[in-house]
Subunit: 355 residues, 3 copies
């Protein structure tokens, strides 16, 4: 009647009658080395190490309802909730989610941080994807078609909620074990609490770097952005690309464009495919006991206002098993900020364990 289970990368799962409770988590430890102005802000080299993510979750399912509470632990006193939502699955294929959860915008943001191919997401995704916020969303997902639409709380605007709306649709004309073609589009618009947009300043895809591109906080009343997604996978080959067009509406101040794109190409040397399910990719699962090896390349372009940055990333991933993944990335970045050119190189190393 009760089934208990420990699953690599899936945590503890206890199931009794119609109740399921899971406990799990993830751990990412990073070491980064970098030089020059694009990463350190000076001509010097730099280095740092950090626990990038340390998360513990409990989730539950009971009848048509499910819920998840995921804590994100930090060493600097900034421990927070990552997920904290309650979901109703009782209306046919629809899912209604209430609480803190990920806003539906951008393929790379919808893909879990434990499943993305590079160590860090791209600059344009980090700038424009709203991430996890309080709100309500409705969606539906089958393996070849998904949509999700939500209304979210983006802080306080004169005593009221600064409301944001976000939506995403994806379609997979080809979706088999061997081949996937994914198309997607998203939209977001939100009021800006405090009349400022503060996500435009971005590091060049190395999380401990000291330098950022973007000339500080942007004054505005609202932000609007849309994106287009394209992904294709065939056997051990996979690629994904996204284009984003965003604009901060300045009100009486001038508007500011925030645009960007990236393209990523990967190949699993040991022959495994990158799994796809319901509009998102997952990380590679090794078939043999020797693990799986993957190489990838990525180019990323980001243009907040009159500033600009480009990165070129080459990476190697080793998936030891379902729980462990090790990645090393080389990043070449250059930026133009306020008319000043800066470039630099970085090596980033991540070890990841999914409980």
């Amino acid at each position: 009647e009760t089934e208990a289970q420990a699953k690599a990368g899936g945590g503890i799962k206890i199931n009794s009658d119609d109740v399921t409770i899971k406990v799990g988590g993830r751990l990412q430890y990073d070491m980064d080395w970098f030089d020059d102005e694009a990463f350190t802000g000076s001509n010097d080299s730099g280095s740092d190490s950090e626990i990038r993510r340390a998360r513990l979750f409990i989730s539950g399912e009971h009848g048509d309802w499910e819920a998840k509470l995921k804590a994100d632990f930090k060493d600097n006193g900034d421990t927070k909730l990552d997920d904290a939502y309650i979901r109703y699955n009782g209306w046919d294929d629809l899912a209604l989610t209430l609480g803190k959860h990920k806003e539906p915008f951008g393929l790379e943001d919808q893909t879990s941080s434990k499943d993305i191919t590079a160590i860090e997401r791209t600059m344009i995704i980090n700038a424009l994807a709203p991430g996890k916020n309080y709100g309500a969303s409705l969606g539906s997902a089958s393996n070849d078609f998904t949509w999700q639409f939500g209304v979210f709380d983006h802080g306080d605007e004169g005593g009221n909620i600064a409301t944001g709306i976000t939506g995403r649709m994806t379609f997979a004309p080809i979706v088999s074990k061997d081949e996937v073609l994914h198309l997607g589009a998203g939209f977001r618009q939100s009021r800006l609490a405090g009349n400022t947009f503060s996500d435009a300043d971005q590091r060049l895809e190395v999380h401990t770097a000291d330098e950022k591109v973007g000339s500080g906080t942007i004054v505005g009343e609202s932000i609007t952005a849309y994106n287009l997604e394209l992904a294709y996978a065939s056997g051990p080959f996979h690629m994904q690309a996204e284009y984003f067009d965003g604009e901060v509406d300045g009100g009486v101040n001038p508007d500011t464009d925030i645009d960007g794109y990236y393209a990523q190409f990967g190949y699993v040397l040991t022959g495994e495919s990158r799994p796809y399910s319901k509009g998102k990719f997952k990380r590679v699962t090794p078939k043999g006991s020797a693990g799986a090896w993957e190489v990838f390349g990525r180019l990323s372009h980001y243009a907040p206002g009159s500033d600009e940055a480009d990165t070129y990333t080459l990476g190697l991933n080793y998936y030891a098993n379902k729980a462990v993944r090790i990645g090393v990335n080389y990043v070449n970045g250059d930026m133009n900020e306020g008319g000043v050119n800066k470039d630099g190189n970085a090596i980033a190393l991540r070890v990841q364990y999914v409980f």
Copy 2:
């Protein structure tokens, strides 16, 4: 020999020989809308959403001993311990509790936040019930008679513990499945660390409201309060009421009275009863798979010093199953603060999942 279990609203429970370990939690997500001075402090309307409580616990039992560690996660960097106590049950019916635990004062405060009928507790309870603190308490509980008495740490007073004592006794002359009559009385007295009492300022029972009644911090050496509890339940009907009389002893400054009361009446439309056990109520458990519906009304009066506030709450609760509860409350409030009258209305919505 080992028994594993997942229980809706009760978490994971693993039992081996004489050792039991449980892991569970709760999640409450709120959305509030309100207007006018009693809630916003101005003539404008307001709204907000928040994760009201996100808690994860581990508890253990081994022989005569048990312990609980419950974390309360916040998004603003204020993650804390909720419960953190060790209890000894080896002296017949007595329980000795050491560590952070709830001080025994006030029926509505003894009732868990996942089991109270309204979304928020009343102003007078929030002002006078000391809540959870470090300390030691001794108590005993049978289904018709309970008592608990404790000594608690209320902060620092000249390098020493500012000591508080708290006690509560309850008696249930009628206690059957169909009918409950509960009588109770409590007492608290404590030194005031920093010679200030800062719990008198209270929102009008809507947690995200901007405005509070109470004219700021009260200067004093100690606080003394007592209360009387009355509750009655018969079939689907239940009611509870409490009266509180408190006083901050000002020392060389004038004393300040803090008084209040509330009365609450509820009816479970689908016929279930509100469960009662050992001096506390629990939330309704639906009998059928369609869930349980409950209506209630509450009036609440609060008078800190020369200020005064009254609220009238009407609410509807839906208990989908043992894990999920949804509540919507309408609150009409008015206050007189420093001679100025303010009133307003609010709608509060909560979704709750107990892992």
Copy 3:
């Protein structure tokens, strides 16, 4: 195929095929009373209570890999990671650990806080043992010989990691159930981020005391320290002693010596032995259902720069079962700080539950 287990002092353990996941924690609640200058800084008495440690962990093992995430909850908003590491055990007897973990230095620091004999570790250990930091270490442990060496991140020094290296070797010429002779030596050296060493100020082994010995932050470029360890146990008797010699290299400023030692003698009245395994001691496990009783004495000397402190501790431990331990310590301390003598007495009480 799946085995679920609840183990007193060992948490929940679920094992499916080659995957094991554990969830557990510990809770320590302290009450302290003390008088006079060495503890309060004045001629007055003092008292305090606190949750000393409240920790929750999840750990996983999958093939040659394991990982642990342990959160340390605080009530003052300072919740942190305690352990957050990933370990590879695939190279014969070697273990490679990456992430936040304990630096290998000092027998009393290597012994878990739930297993040390006194309530608090000694001043010299708290001053010189680096504790838990981000880094990489390699080690090997058999029951009579262990070594571990690591490189750790001690903060930021001009944009780069302020690197520390730490190493420890232990040898047990006698190691049987009835008798243990342990010898050990350790070394640490690290750059000082911000050119300051701030661990020299230490309380006299009562954690809530107001007064510390040590004349503030020490300016320097690096710290170097070594230690020697000696421990012997025979039946219910056990003793351990360590000597430390440390120096802050002042660069252009003068160097500062930080020296100290301690010796501790214990006896388990109920006849149990203190368990030893792979270079560390564990806490006593009672044989009978009445629990185990232990007495101990400790002298501790600490000399940061020209200051000096000595403590004499007498203690009684009651191990109720594998989960529960209660300790009471009497501490007599005196210090000479900046030429001023201060002394005092303290009583500390701890209740501990290991989930």
